[in-house]
């Protein structure tokens, strides 16, 4: 009997020795071995809560911020912006099938009157190195939500400057164009030749003439939409009352 119990205890001891304390346990499941003082724990906990609260505000405001979110972002911007934790219409949703998710093509006119697509190496949208689609998305959002010809004009000037520096002949006009992205049915119709791509008009959301001053510095003059132009008055009507 004593020999059996000795044997059992020796077997149990051997099994205990075989079990490695390192490999045997799920480290996340065991009781915490807290090596941090309660005061430090409180401070770190507060930092964690504030940090993730700020991040959550930034993410929640990404798509379409409310007035309250806008105010919170303004208060939190010294933290969020300086640490580059701010979001603003970033495409975390991958796509919504909106125009802001579609490619933007820069077209130019040089000597010939037809529009030419710019070099897709820069504007290409399937290159891991191309950042144009991200900037183009922001420009498209601006053109839809907060039209700012000044901003779009400045981007256009810089694009023209870059293209001419890259060897493109003198640019006379530039525009930002979105080709029509076919939905499933439209694609099927084009494939079946019941429709053609020419049936789908691209959308031009910015167009401008390129001008140069006496020192050959570039500028652009955005083309106004027809309803934004004042009607041309004949000389005989100048100074007369407009009342019927």
């Amino acid at each position: 009997m004593p020999r059996k119990s000795n044997l059992r205890s020796r077997v149990a001891q051997a099994e205990a020795n075989l079990q490695s304390p390192i490999l045997d346990r799920d480290a996340w499941a065991d009781a915490p071995n807290l090596s941090i003082s309660p005061r430090a724990r409180g401070f770190v906990s507060l930092v964690i809560v504030l940090h993730f609260a700020a991040v959550l505000v930034a993410l929640a405001s990404n798509l379409a911020p409310s007035f309250l979110q806008g105010e919170l972002l303004r208060v939190l911007s010294p933290y969020l912006t300086t640490t580059h934790q701010s979001y603003g219409a970033v495409a975390i949703e991958l796509t919504h099938g909106d125009s802001v998710d579609f490619p933007v093509v820069v077209q130019i006119q040089t000597d010939a009157p037809n529009w030419i697509d710019c070099d897709q190496t820069l504007m290409g949208h399937n290159s891991i190195g191309s950042r144009w689609p991200i900037l183009a998305r922001m420009l498209r959002i601006i053109s839809v939500d907060a039209p700012d010809d000044g901003l779009l004009s400045e981007v256009a000037v810089q694009v023209v400057r870059y293209l001419e520096h890259s060897g493109v002949s003198e640019v006379s006009a530039v525009r930002f164009m979105q080709p029509h992205v076919l939905n499933f049915d439209e694609y099927d119709s084009v494939r079946n030749e019941s429709m053609s791509l020419a049936d789908f008009e691209p959308e031009v959301f910015f167009s401008a003439k390129v001008v140069r001053d006496s020192e050959n510095r570039l500028g652009v003059v955005p083309e106004q939409e027809a309803y934004r132009n004042s009607p041309v008055s004949s000389k005989s009507q100048l100074g007369k009352s407009t009342q019927p």
Partner: protein, 293 residues
């Protein structure tokens, strides 16, 4: 009494989640992966430096000032030494130095100091690129900041099997939890934003990605004959994200959650075209490993 027990259990749970000690070497694979991702991120800008930041580059400081003014934020918040050295050469040097710093971060040489400098280097570049930044930049900055809290031992110590790598610290557990939590928040935010539009409910989103040329893997011609495939892929992208978010919170199914996390990253990187973001999220999944003590 019940309230006290509830408060106590909540606080215990909080302490268990954030402050449990872990072995220092647990964070090493995560650090290696994130620093390699950082190097890839820096390298991704090299080809386009002349176009964006060169002598006739598009994103000039004057345009950048206009973009900052449009956002109605103070310029100091977009701090970066690169505003003072605006040339393609300076930018290229910055990128190459960033790659070197990333590799030092991989090795673990310099510990927190190296990672702290790398963090500042990344933020400075992210501020210079302004509206060229996508979803990967804020996530990358956050993950590097968490690694500054606890970078772990150097690779040399790990390969020499020193006992110091098994030393436990609350900073290790806290850093891993920060990465886990941030990953979960990012994927959840992306999922909720997707579901805010009907294209994901109707199973059309993958078509729009392919048709707009925003899918690395798929094209419209490949999908045109299979509307069911389009729907299946779209619903599948949603499903894998939901499953990843759920299964990663359940201890017993952590490995399965990691598998669905990888599928989520494949969807973001290949079905869409956010490759660097996908690589970063995949790297962060290393924080979810049921780790050794």
């Amino acid at each position: 009494m019940m309230d006290n027990q509830f408060i106590k259990s909540t606080l215990d749970g909080w302490n268990q989640y954030w402050f449990a000690s872990r072995a220092a070497r647990c964070v090493v694979p995560l650090r290696v992966a994130i620093c390699v991702t950082t190097a890839i991120w820096f390298a991704s800008f090299v080809a386009g430096v002349d176009a964006w930041f060169g002598e006739a580059g598009i994103l000039t400081p004057s345009l950048a000032a206009h973009l900052i003014a449009f956002g109605e934020l103070p310029t100091w918040q977009y701090w970066s030494p690169l505003w003072f050295a605006d040339s393609a050469i300076a930018c290229k040097l910055w990128l190459f130095a960033g790659i070197v710093l990333s590799m030092l971060g991989v090795s673990g040489w310099g510990g927190r100091i190296t990672l702290g400098i790398l963090l500042a280097w990344v933020i400075a570049w992210a501020h210079r690129i302004l509206w060229l930044a996508g979803p990967s930049e804020p996530a990358l900055v956050a993950m590097l900041a968490y690694l500054v809290l606890e970078p772990g031992p150097s690779l040399r110590k790990c390969f020499s099997f020193r006992d110091a790598t098994l030393e436990e610290s609350w900073t290790v557990g806290c850093a891993l939890r920060l990465v886990q939590t941030h990953w979960w928040v990012l994927v959840a935010a992306g999922l909720l934003t997707q579901l805010s539009d009907v294209v994901w409910w109707r199973g059309e989103a993958v078509w729009w990605l392919a048709s707009a040329g925003r899918s690395r893997l798929l094209s419209a011609s490949q999908l045109a004959d299979s509307p069911s495939l389009v729907n299946a892929l779209t619903h599948g992208v949603i499903a894998v994200q939901m499953l990843a978010l759920w299964l990663l919170t359940v201890r017993s199914s952590r490995w399965l959650g990691i598998v669905f996390g990888v599928l989520t990253c494949l969807a973001i990187g290949l079905v869409a075209d956010q490759m660097i973001y996908a690589i970063l999220l995949a790297s962060c999944l290393l924080a979810f490993r049921p780790s050794l003590r």
